[in-house]
């Protein structure tokens, strides 16, 4: 076996986000949590970049675009962040361990992971608790109770002070509104009609999108299945695009929420076909050109 510069070796790998379940075992939640890049990952740092009390992710990648930022827009939960200032020893307090009652131990480190350097402050998720008692095991060997620390802020503990001081309160984080999902064909900006429907998500520069147009034209002409197109083009450009792509079926602009509903890893794969049954309910989402006929056969939509 010989390798060329075009070959892949453990390429296009889905990232991993192992979350611990009630039984102590881990399940990979990378896809369901939106950490679903297929780029070649290298360094990875978690940091609260927007000060809203939850950790965002920055990842470098070998191949383009080389940087990915995963903003945390999920349910926030309770948390605090603790900066440490050592009086005896190095002021950044590396080697110190923060013990949070009912949660666990948090080591202070400056480097972690693969070629990554991080803020030595510790981020403590509290779940549903509003606060927790904190003991700091300083590098000097002294263990100090710094009191009960409340969720909702970044605070600082200075060795020997026996308490924490506020640094800043967390801001209100951006929480994305629930995304509308076109579970029914009536959720799309299309003329209503009876019977099964196929909706092509397309753009003109997408070659496979253009290549599947003849088959969709033929399907539309048969009349058993409604065919529509939703294009990543503005309203004014669509008539010209439709003509250039020689579409005989109706088209409309692709609403952003619909495109976002089918994105993975920050992008929408094109072409994508949405297949709705006679009752108007979404049955399949098909990616890639040339894959519609076997699905129509399987669903028997074209044979009615």
């Amino acid at each position: 076996m010989t390798a060329s510069s075009e070959d892949s070796m453990s390429g296009f790998e889905p990232k991993r986000l192992f979350a611990r379940g009630a039984d102590g075992r881990f399940d990979d939640c990378a896809f369901v949590e939106g950490f679903d890049s297929r780029l070649d990952g290298r360094s990875l740092v978690a940091a609260d970049l927007d000060g809203d009390g939850d950790l965002d992710l920055v990842m470098t990648t070998r191949n383009g675009p080389h940087l990915q930022l995963f903003e945390n827009v999920g349910a926030p939960g309770q948390a605090f962040e603790l900066e440490l200032h050592a009086v005896h020893g190095h002021p950044e307090a590396d080697g110190t361990v923060v013990h949070v009652e009912g949660v666990g131990a948090f080591p202070v480190v400056l480097n972690r992971g693969y070629s990554s350097s991080t803020d030595p402050a510790v981020h403590v998720g509290l779940g549903t608790r509003q606060s927790a008692r904190v003991r700091v095991q300083w590098r000097s060997g002294v263990t100090e109770d710094v009191g009960v620390v409340a969720a909702g802020a970044r605070v600082r503990a200075t060795e020997g002070a026996g308490k924490v001081e506020p640094v800043r309160a967390f801001t209100e984080g951006r929480r994305l509104p629930a995304r509308p999902f076109p579970a029914k064909v009536s959720d799309l900006p299309l003329p209503r009609g009876e019977g099964p429907t196929v909706v092509q998500l397309f753009m003109q520069s997408c070659k496979p999108c253009r290549e599947e147009v003849p088959a969709l034209n033929a399907l539309s002409k048969k009349g058993k299945v409604h065919v529509f197109g939703l294009g990543l083009h503005d309203d004014n450009a669509l008539p010209k695009v439709r003509a250039a792509m020689k579409m005989t079926y109706e088209v409309a602009p692709l609403p952003e929420p619909v495109a976002e509903a089918f994105e993975s890893g920050g992008g929408l794969a094109l072409p994508t076909l949405l297949v709705y049954g006679a009752d108007g309910v979404l049955m399949r989402v098909i990616s890639g050109a040339g894959n519609l006929p076997p699905v129509l056969d399987e669903l028997k939509l074209d044979a009615r």
Partner: protein
């Protein structure tokens, strides 16, 4: 090619059978695995294309829970173990994953490690049975993370074409507030340039500023931030792959001025900043990965790399080297390290993760001496070490250690191919190498025990970064892995 050569050297050391016999076994297994992978690719392609009815493609004894999905953008099937061919049938252990959306738009992942069987069909194989009854499921109505680097301004100014063998390993990321405005700033290495993106309110970043550059065939390999002079702000340490000293930059109110160099140079992969000797000043551990200068002397125990350089800080951007005695220095291929009091002695120890072999745990003794004790404490962890992180994974108030290694199709094939052809100890070692990642949980007696497999957190694929972080603030740490070696134009895996 490097892998094959290393394997030959490795098995030559292992005695009989001959390396050629071992490689012949691997070749035979390779052919079979390629046939299986071709079939698995067909199955996944059909599922990703929207087909639910796989009759004709697989046997009736294969029932993926596909009706839970309207879309499956991601599918994977891989053979973890492959039995002997008996009556044109092979028993398999299969790891399978389906990621997709259900009819409500919720994201869902279903996966399991299942027993299965393939039967000969024409020149290939057909999956005839797969017991999917033990599948795990996770589901979210909406994802927690949204990718928005471009929107936030985290975009590199140009895409630099790799120019050296080390370019595919090159990476560097450092995130801290360096200008005291309360917002995190981001440093990124793009092979020959170190960029700073200053954080702005609302998750935006100012256009990047180049902090340092290099040229020719030199690659920047690592960036670290730490307060080298004790003035209250983080300074910057930059390493280079290609015989250049470590570069130091002083933080002057958020701007960075070159303030010194350390060492004579080497194939430096990065640094670990820590007050290793407890004198209140940051020290440097510089690790090296000599790619391009050498090939590993063994796939399983390379000893022709470079030991870490330990530089003790004087608190003024100067450092003096703490030489490692020859009997202590491990000539390994190192990707980095983490520093902590692993041994509960009240001091710091340096854990170095290495490719092609075991990890090292260096201890700075109170008398100024250095020792290496990883095996003594059960932390040597054979494997292709890529990264490590620290945290209390099981919430028992003890710090645990997660180590990223490699879990790849190629590795699994080799382990299957080696089979019974090598001594048991070598076979066990190969199995450990290809297994994936390690989770050392701290024990009540101060020791560590690996629980990665029984907690099912070992298969990070071809891991690079590993990170322990509580991303959902539920008080339990998640384990995140940045992985993927090389994605080429041809998607098929070598």
């Amino acid at each position: 090619m490097t892998l094959v050569l290393s394997l030959m050297l490795t098995f030559a050391l292992a005695g009989s059978p001959t390396p050629r016999e071992v490689l012949q076994g691997i070749d035979q297994q390779e052919t079979l695995n390629l046939e299986l992978e071709a079939h698995f690719d067909q199955v996944c392609s059909a599922l990703k294309a929207g087909r639910h009815d796989l009759s004709g493609l697989v046997g009736p004894g294969v029932r993926f829970p596909i009706d839970e999905f309207v879309q499956v953008p991601s599918c994977s099937l891989r053979a973890l173990s492959v039995g002997k061919v008996v009556d044109d049938t092979i028993a398999l252990r299969v790891l399978w994953d389906l990621d997709g959306r259900d009819a409500r738009g919720a994201r869902r992942s279903v996966r399991a490690e299942s027993d299965g069987e393939v039967v000969r069909e024409g020149k290939g194989w057909k999956l005839s049975r797969l017991d999917t009854s033990n599948a795990h499921r996770v589901e979210r109505d909406a994802p927690r993370f949204v990718e928005r680097a471009a929107e936030a301004g985290l975009v590199l100014p140009q895409v630099v074409t790799p120019i050296s063998p080390a370019a595919f390993l090159s990476s560097g990321l450092a995130i801290r507030d360096v200008d005291g405005d309360g917002i995190a700033d981001v440093f990124v290495i793009d092979r020959q340039t170190l960029y700073l993106y200053r954080g702005k309110p609302g998750l935006h970043f100012a256009p990047p500023v180049a902090i340092a550059r290099t040229g020719g065939d030199t690659i920047l390999s690592g960036v670290s931030l730490g307060d080298l002079d004790g003035d209250g702000d983080p300074d910057l340490v930059l390493t280079t792959w290609r015989d250049r000293p470590v570069r130091l930059f002083r933080n002057e109110h958020g701007t960075f001025v070159e303030a010194g160099k350390v060492g004579r140079g080497g194939q430096h992969q990065g640094t670990v900043l820590s007050d290793l000797d407890g004198d209140g000043k940051l020290d440097l551990a510089v690790v090296s990965y000599p790619l391009g200068y050498a090939i590993p002397s063994s796939f399983l125990n390379a000893d022709n790399g470079d030991p870490p350089e330990l530089w003790l800080g004087n608190g003024d951007f100067t450092f003096h080297q703490l030489p490692l005695p020859a009997r202590v220095a491990k000539h390994h291929w190192s990707f980095g390290g983490v520093a902590a009091d692993f041994l509960h002695r009240g001091g710091m120890q340096l854990y170095v993760f290495n490719d092609y072999g075991v990890k090292d745990l260096y201890v700075l003794d109170r008398d100024g001496g250095v020792s290496e004790v990883s095996a003594q404490y059960g932390l040597n962890d054979p494997g292709g070490g890529m990264s490590a992180d620290l945290g209390d994974v099981d919430n028992d108030d003890r710090v645990d250690l997660y180590v990223a290694n490699m879990f790849s199709k190629a590795g699994t094939r080799i382990a299957n191919g080696v089979g019974a052809r090598v001594p048991e100890a070598t076979r066990d070692l190969v199995s450990k190498f290809v297994r994936g990642n390690t989770l050392f949980l701290g024990q009540p007696d101060g020791g560590y025990a690996d629980h990665a497999v029984d907690l099912e957190v070992h298969r990070g694929l071809w891991s690079f970064a590993s990170l322990l972080a509580d991303v959902d603030n539920d008080s339990r740490l998640e384990v995140l892995i940045a992985n993927g070696f090389i994605s080429g134009k041809k998607r098929k895996d070598l």
